[in-house]
Each structure stands twice: as structure tokens, then as C-alpha cells.
């Protein structure tokens, strides 16, 4: 904007000493810089390491430090470099049913846990969203409160609760509900409990965000037009909270597929999840190339739900005017 100024009058400005063009460049640069930093971060600490993992997945295991044959190193011709590529590790994943089963088990466990977390989290989020507004920050805080303790310790604590002589069994036997301790520890049930417990806040928070901004007069309007309370919920509240449901499910499902700590601590030795398989390949077998291949496949497996998630978010933003 230009302001007409009488000749001889000076308009004092902040950056008087600097020429106009340099200010423009600085501003353009600083706005880019804001985006550049996180991108550089992702490049350095995600993309480059991932490229290295992909590279390792194409090599052969060997007794050396590091324990794999060099691939794409040195300045040989392209053909020579490509010849060093080995798909053996990926073939190996298809030949041994162990890996396929581990992937399937992981996805199934993650999916079941996600549904359970939704069933527990939805009423919780709904309750918080409908609570008196003065009470909501406190209730939200309580949802997030477990994050203040180390994840590992919290999962470890579940052992004390779930083991045969643990708190849960002692309590149930004390009130006479059971006379034999329940065998929950080292079963899939323990894994479900662990995952639902650990990832519940990730389910509750997006659900709360979706439910909280909903206009309550919509429910009244539905009732006014002939809906009972429950049919108003299924026809209005539930469909309108769908973006929150999708976000919450993705936030639970994606990390749950690759979960290692919970199956390792609560699921015992016989549980077959891909995170545990990966750990075994890497640390027990010292087979870096195969474990890299496992990791690459796991990532590809997760890219699909992430893309669905992002698309849903984009659609939601579009709808949000």
C-alpha cells in the first residue's frame, strides 16, 4: 500500500537503515525457513536412515563389522552396482511362513486392539465432551496424565497386575468371583489390554476434538423431529464424529502394528508379532539384511493406512469450509 506523502515529510519506519529489497528477501527467506527446518530434520533423521535400511536389505549377511556385504559402495559402473543387489532377503520372507504369520498376527492384533480402544475410548471422549465446560480441562488432563510416567514402566506395571498371583487375580479371588487364578499373563488378552491401555489417549483426544465442537442443538433438533436419544446418537452424533474416529483409529492402529515392548513384556515368548520378530532377527540372529527387509515391508504395510488417514483428513478440512 502506498500512502501519499507531502514532499519533505519523513515517515519513520522500523528498518530505515536497510534497503527495501533486502527486507523483502529476508521476509521470503524467513517464511521458507520455517518450513525448511522440519523438512531438513525429516530428511536427515528419517529419509537418510531409511535409505540406509533399504540398502542393507539388499545386501547379504556376513561375519564382519558391520555384519553385511557392501552394496552400492565404491565407484563401480551402474551395472556392477546393481549386480550386487540381492533380493534373497525378500524371497526369504516369502519362503518362511514365520514372517507372513507374524505380519498377519500383528495386523490382526492391532486391528482388534484398535476396535477395543474405540469401544472404550468413545464413551470416555463423549463423557468428557459433554461434561460441564469448567470440568473438561481437568478430565482431559487425567486422560493425558499417564504420559507423565515412562511408557516402559507403565507396561511393566501391568505384569504385576495380570500375573497369576497379581493384583487382579488376588482381588477377584478375594471377592470370591473366581477360585482359580485367571491366566491372562503371556496371552493375547494381555497384549490387547496393554495396547488398549497404552494407546487409549491417542484414541480419546481426536474423538474428543470431534465431539466437543459438535453443536448440541443438532441433537435437540433430531429429538424434536422424532428421534429418541439413541437414534439421535446414531443418526447425528456418530456420523459427525467420523473424522475423529478415523483419526483415533489410525493413531492407535499404526503404532500398534509395529509394537514391540507390549508383546515382549506381556505376551510372553510364544507371541508372534512383527516387532518381536524384527528384534530377534536383529539382535539374536544378527541378520541385519533380513531384519532390514522385514522393516521395509512393515513400512510399506503401514503406508497404506497412513495414506487413507491423510486423505480422510484432507476431506474433513474441505468439509470444514
Amino acid at each position: 500500500m502506498t500512502i501519499p506523502v507531502a514532499p519533505g515529510t519523513d515517515i519513520p519506519t522500523k528498518n530505515e537503515s536497510r534497503p527495501v529489497w533486502s527486507r523483502g528477501i529476508l521476509r521470503a527467506l524467513s517464511s521458507r525457513l520455517v518450513i525448511l527446518v522440519p523438512y531438513l530434520w525429516l530428511l536427515a533423521f528419517f529419509l537418510v536412515p531409511f535409505a540406509i535400511v533399504v540398502k542393507i536389505s539388499f545386501s547379504q549377511t556376513t561375519l564382519a563389522i558391520p555384519p553385511y556385504t557392501p552394496v552400492l559402495e565404491g565407484v563401480g559402473s551402474l551395472w556392477q552396482n546393481l549386480r550386487e543387489f540381492s533380493f534373497d532377503n525378500y524371497l526369504w520372507l516369502t519362503q518362511d511362513a514365520l514372517y507372513f504369520n507374524a505380519y498377519v498376527t500383528s495386523v490382526v492384533i492391532a486391528a482388534v486392539s484398535t476396535v477395543l480402544a474405540l469401544l472404550v475410548g468413545y464413551p470416555l471422549a463423549y463423557g468428557v465432551a459433554r461434561a460441564p465446560s469448567a470440568l473438561r480441562p481437568l478430565l482431559l488432563m487425567l486422560v493425558i496424565l499417564p504420559f507423565w510416567t515412562s511408557f516402559l514402566i507403565r507396561v511393566y506395571a501391568w505384569i504385576g497386575i495380570l500375573k497369576p498371583e497379581g493384583l487382579l487375580n488376588q482381588f477377584l479371588m478375594a471377592i470370591g468371583l473366581i477360585d482359580q487364578p485367571l491366566l491372562i499373563m503371556n496371552t493375547y488378552t494381555a497384549i490387547f489390554i496393554g495396547i488398549v491401555y497404552s494407546y487409549l489417549p491417542f484414541m480419546v483426544l481426536p474423538l474428543y476434538a470431534a465431539l466437543e465442537k459438535m453443536d448440541y442443538s443438532l441433537i435437540e433438533a433430531a429429538q424434536d423431529l422424532g428421534c429418541t436419544r439413541s437414534s439421535a446418537f446414531w443418526k447425528i452424533t456418530f456420523p459427525l464424529s467420523r473424522p475423529g474416529i478415523i483419526a483415533g483409529c489410525m493413531l492407535v492402529f499404526i503404532p500398534a502394528v509395529g509394537e514391540f515392548v507390549i508383546p515382549d513384556l506381556l505376551g510372553g515368548s510364544q507371541t508372534l508379532m512383527i516387532g518381536k520378530t524384527l528384534w530377534n532377527e536383529f539382535f539374536a540372529n544378527r541378520d541385519w539384511p533380513v531384519s532390514s527387509a522385514v522393516a521395509v515391508i512393515l513400512l510399506l504395510l503401514l503406508v497404506v493406512p497412513i495414506m487413507i488417514f491423510q486423505q480422510a483428513q484432507a476431506r474433513q478440512q474441505e468439509q470444514g469450509r
Binding site: 453443536d215 443438532l218 435437540e220 433438533a221 429429538q223 424434536d224 423431529l225 422424532g226 429418541t228
Partner: protein
């Protein structure tokens, strides 16, 4: 009396004056308390079938609570609400034969205009073909045929208002409740929509109960208005009655602008009274229930006060002298604030087409105010 002829300004419809008419909606000594606060306090009100009834009051006067109790979102703490003879206590909102148009419109954002309108009909289990026909009819009624497939966020404010209206009348309720139906519209659209609403009410033959804080809206649309304050009814009357014969100082002051003179009743004859106020003696032909010796208020509307630089020719006219203190030119009218010699400031509205060019009054001029004995009313409350 002149006032009586004003009562039936609209289509000779006045069941409230017919002792045989049965009330359609009856609030019978209804009280609603939220904690210690009584939003509605021992309120009784009767509304007749096909009436366009307005609840007018400032925010917090209990008008919305009254509406929500009729819709079933709130239960009265005590008292009964009868609709067409049926006691509504305990009847859930979805079983009440009333529909509400919400202030926020409360359109379902995930449904198209069509689906929004069809929503209530589907709940009733109406056959699909009938629903389609009714929806088409409603869309035609509110002139939104070409917007049937749009979602609410793709519509303008005025269009959304019409969808909300169509959705609430689609079920042909016994009573349509409208909560500030025009509150979110701009002034011009509001004025147009007022007449559309009146036409719609006539065409459908429904009973409308509208809540508003906008007196112009209530005056324009309603057959009768109930003025509410602090959960109580101050007056129920037709718009001309409310304006010309307010029952209390609160109503006189709340509806339109008014000049109030305080004075003592010095003479009380049949059909007339004399009130001695500061600086002027008022003769009135509408003495109300003024009693000799009592201190009362005399209320007169600004447009009934004539302004002139000469004293009135008629010696019996009520008159006082003062100084032009402020002038507000509003286009159609000009408002003069006259500071009387008694110190009281009196408002006089002059229609600009009648403002005489040979008697130009301006700031600081000495001027006379004058009004007829039948122009104002005496208020004892």
C-alpha cells in the same frame, strides 16, 4: 374508543376476545427453576389455534425457557402445560406434536437440504413416495428447489434459514416454535422474511409461537404479543394495544420510545383526569385507574408530541415550553430532544414530509411542545 378499532387490524381474527374459544396452548402457573434462579415464575398464558403469538423480552427474561418447555427439552418445576387439552408432562420431545426452528438453525451438516427436510418424516415412518412429495412441496414453499442436493455449508444465511423453516414445518406440527427465527439475518433480509413467515403461517394454518427480543419483529408479525420480564408476563395484547395502551411503565419503556411525565392526580372525573407534573398540567382522556391524589406516570409517544415555535392555539391542549437540545435526522423522521424549562428532556418525532419549511427549528431555539388529551395514557404501575 379509538383503541378498540385498532385491535382487529389483522383479518378480524381475535379468538382471545371470544369467551367460547378454547385455548390451544395453556401454560398453567408454570415455574421453572435452575438451581435457585427462577427462569419462569408462576406464569400463565393462553394461546389460541392458528394464532401467531410472540414472546417478547430482553435476554434472560425466560422466553426461550418457555419455548423449550413446550418443545420438551425442559420440564417445568411446577405447573402444567396443556396442548390441545393434553397435559404434556413427561411426554418426551420426540412424541410432542410440536416442532421447533432453532436459533442456530441446527441443520444437520452431513445431510443435504433434501435429507434435512425429510429427516422428521422418515422418523415417522412415512412411505418414501409421500416423503419425496412432501419434500418437493416444502422446497417449493421456501423457493429452494434448485438447492435440494446442496449441503448446509454451501448455502447463504438466508437460504439456511429457509431450510430450517421447511424442515420444521414439514411434519405439519400442531404448533411451530420459532426461536429468534430472524436473528441471524441482516436487516433487509429480515424485513422481507417477516412477511414471508406471516404468509406461510396463513397458508399452512399453523399456530406459530415465536420468541424474539426484536420488538419490531414481534409488532410486525404477531397477532398478540406477551411481554416478559424476569420470568413473568408483564402484558399480553395485540401490537397496537401494546404500543398505544401499555399497561405499565416497563412495557411503555420496553416497546418503542416513550416520554414519561411523573405527576399527581389533581382531578379525577368520569373519563378524564388532570395531572400536575413539574412545569405543566396534563389533561387526559385516558385516565386508566388513576385515583385522586395519587402519584402516577403519564406516557406519551414521541410522534404524538407536536413541536412549534408558537404556543398552541387550543388553550385546552397540553403544552410546555423549552429549548431544542438535540436533533437527530433519520431520513424519514427527525427526532428533536427538547429540554423543558422544568429540566425534563422530551422526545418529539416529526415526520419529515410534514416538517414545515416556514417554521424551521434548530439547536438552541425556544419551542413549544403540545399534545392532545387522548394521545397518552396514565400508568399506575
Amino acid at each position: 374508543m379509538a383503541l378498540q378499532s385498532l385491535n382487529s387490524i389483522r383479518r378480524g381474527f381475535e379468538p382471545w376476545n371470544d369467551p367460547a374459544a378454547r385455548p390451544y396452548i395453556h401454560f398453567d402457573r408454570v415455574t421453572k427453576k435452575f438451581g435457585d434462579f427462577a427462569a419462569v415464575n408462576d406464569l400463565s398464558l393462553t394461546i389460541f389455534e392458528r394464532e401467531f403469538f410472540a414472546l417478547l423480552g430482553a435476554s434472560g427474561c425466560g422466553k426461550s425457557t418457555l419455548l423449550r418447555m413446550l418443545a420438551g427439552f425442559e420440564e417445568p418445576t411446577s405447573g402444567r402445560i396443556l396442548l390441545d387439552g393434553q397435559d404434556l408432562r413427561g411426554v418426551p420431545p420426540y412424541r410432542r406434536p410440536v416442532n421447533m426452528m432453532f436459533q442456530s438453525y441446527a441443520l444437520f451438516p452431513h445431510m443435504t437440504v433434501e435429507k434435512n427436510i425429510a429427516f422428521g418424516l422418515k422418523q415417522d415412518g412415512m412411505p418414501a413416495a409421500d416423503i419425496a412429495a412432501r419434500v418437493a412441496e416444502m422446497l417449493r414453499l421456501v423457493k429452494l428447489e434448485e438447492f435440494a442436493k446442496r449441503k448446509p455449508h454451501q448455502l447463504s444465511g438466508g437460504q439456511r434459514q429457509r431450510v430450517a423453516l421447511a424442515r420444521s414445518v414439514a411434519k405439519r406440527p400442531k404448533v411451530l416454535l420459532l426461536d429468534e427465527p430472524l436473528g441471524a439475518l441482516d436487516k433487509k433480509l429480515r424485513e422481507e422474511t417477516q412477511f414471508e413467515l406471516m404468509d406461510l403461517q396463513q397458508d399452512l394454518g399453523l399456530t406459530f409461537l415465536v420468541v424474539t427480543h426484536d420488538q419490531e419483529e414481534a409488532m410486525t408479525m404477531a397477532d398478540r404479543i406477551a411481554i416478559l420480564d424476569k420470568g413473568e408476563v408483564m402484558q399480553v395484547a395485540t401490537p397496537p394495544e401494546i404500543y398505544e395502551a401499555p399497561g405499565s411503565r416497563f412495557v411503555a419503556d420496553f416497546v418503542g420510545s416513550v416520554n414519561l411525565f411523573q405527576g399527581q392526580v389533581t382531578r379525577r372525573d368520569a373519563g378524564r383526569a388532570e395531572i400536575a407534573g413539574p412545569g405543566l398540567v396534563i389533561h387526559t382522556a385516558n385516565p386508566g385507574d388513576a385515583e385522586q391524589g395519587k402519584t402516577v406516570h403519564y406516557a406519551i409517544r414521541p410522534e404524538k408530541i407536536r413541536l412549534s415555535s408558537f404556543p398552541p392555539e387550543n388553550a385546552r391542549a397540553n403544552a410546555a415550553q423549552g429549548e431544542i437540545y438535540d436533533i437527530a435526522y433519520l431520513g424519514d423522521v427527525t427526532i428533536y430532544n427538547v429540554k423543558l424549562d422544568s429540566g425534563q428532556i422530551v422526545k418529539s418525532t416529526v415526520i419529515n414530509s410534514q416538517r414545515s419549511a416556514d417554521d424551521p427549528l434548530t439547536w438552541g431555539d425556544r419551542a413549544w411542545i403540545a399534545f392532545q388529551p387522548d394521545s397518552g395514557v396514565v400508568l399506575t404501575r
